[in-house]
């Protein structure tokens, strides 16, 4: 099972992180932007689990960090969705560029 080198798993997670980052910057739909953030958080989770399994198996810090990240991501998504719905009520759109009441 541990024939898969750690570096390869880390490469997958890093790629996911930057795909998420790219999505966050290029998408204009707020919900898709949130999804991009979830991708980034998932890549962090993969990192933690992989490090825990390969390098520090005697302690479970990584697993617990992952569990807390998942929990907090849920709370964050709930509040963010509530805000987006509120924004949709007033703007009738969830395009970030439409939310431009304030300018320099």
């Amino acid at each position: 099972m541990s024939e898969v080198p750690l570096h390869h798993i880390l490469f997958v997670s890093t790629a996911l992180f930057f795909i998420g980052m790219y999505g966050f910057f290029t998408r204009r739909n707020m919900i898709t932007m949130l999804m991009a953030i979830e991708l980034m958080l998932n890549s962090v989770n993969i990192n933690f689990i992989a490090f825990n399994k390969y390098l520090f198996p005697e302690k479970m810090d990584g697993i617990f960090f992952t569990i807390f990240i998942i929990a907090i991501a849920a709370a964050e998504a709930a509040v963010a969705i509530a805000i987006i719905i509120n924004l949709y009520r007033s703007h009738k759109s969830i395009d970030v560029e439409e939310a431009s009441e304030m300018k320099y």
Binding site: L34, I37, F51, L55, E101, M102
Partner: protein
Amino acid sequence: MNEALLLMKPELIVTVIIFILLILHVARENSSPAYLLNLINGLLFINFLCGFFFNREGTLFGDMYVTNGLIVLEKNILNLGMLLISLQATDWLKKKDFIVEFYVLLLTTLLGMFFMLSSNNLLMFYLGLELSSIPLAALANFELEKRKSSEAAMKFIMSSAFSSGLLLFGISMLYGTTGTLNFAQLAMLIDGNPLQLFSFILLLAGFGFKISAVPFHLWTADVYEGSPVAVTSYLSVISKGAILFVMASVLFTVFKPLVETWYNMLYLLAVLTMIIGNLFAIRQQNLKRFLAFSSIAQVGFILIGMSGSSQEATASVIYFVLIYVFSNLGAFGVIALVSAQTGKEEIDDYKGFYLSNPMLALVMTLSLFSLAGIPPTAGFFGKFFLLMAGAGKGNFVLITIAALNMVISLYYYLRIVKVMFMEKNETPMEKLQISLFPRISLLTCMAGIILIGFTTLLYDYIFSLSTSF
């Protein structure tokens, strides 16, 4: 057991207040706003007083929770700011439906900051950070009917979620290279290999977002302008102050081995933050937006202080944040009064403010003088100690740039004073009623600004506490 309760006293008191409010809300649904506000402000005052007694030092829950004299002091500063903001917000909150919810959300962010300050572990630090930022996003949207308010909340939650993503990726790399989450063990294991450098940069970017240092400041002005005044003042004083305290402790404990590296990064951030903050502050028309950029510029100065050697840096940053609480809340207190009674927030609305409201104009002037760092106000001493701490490393280019920026900032702070005192207004603002609570708050701010300027005892006290770092 008793010891443990005393150790966690600040957190426990805040939690108790939160639950008192929740139960009260369920049990007595139709309490009048005035009654609620009196009760809450009374509880917050008790909370503030309790911060001075029965303080213990020690750790709890393994390495999860730590407290010492310095952390208690930082929590007291946050408690003070919380009380002042709550007193200032009474006029605005009286007209609102969701007073209890407002305070529950606000107090939870305070609780999150306390846990963050007391954290000795990256997991607790992250949880505290999220606990202090997620409810704030809901608070930024508290003017439910206003388009600007929900825009502000959206920008805040997006940037805070993105920055915590960066922060977490950094933390995961740090965990991968060291295998621990404990601050003290991390400090021993960090040796500056490329992965740790990368994780440090990600962590710094996460911090940069939260304290709104340039180039991570883009959300700040919109969020400050769109949120209700009470939330804006909370964001600019309490939230920023707490993160600065934690940033100082993370930089000086965890990343101590990399001090040569992060000195240069802080240098660059400080210079950029001061210059960009100042240049944008000059051209603002909305007073809250103006204070947003002025607070960005102040962060630049704080970063200079932080680049000094650990003891001076910590002491000067804490001292400055204390003064910043008084001076910024003085300015925001006046804005909160004006905004709650007239709804006006533009700089042009303040033309001839002195003629109709001389006392408020004086309060505002004194606060702006303190923000600008004009002697003999406290702000001068705060900036002086920051620059002294920064100069300790012998980098006089940085100090020169800072001094030039202080001159630029004088220009725009004095512009507001000129608008209030010299310019004529066809439709002057009416005479405002100042009720008891905001009056107490503004008087405290004025007392703080004037008195701290005349005594150095406080700085010596903070300096002596900082040795425990």
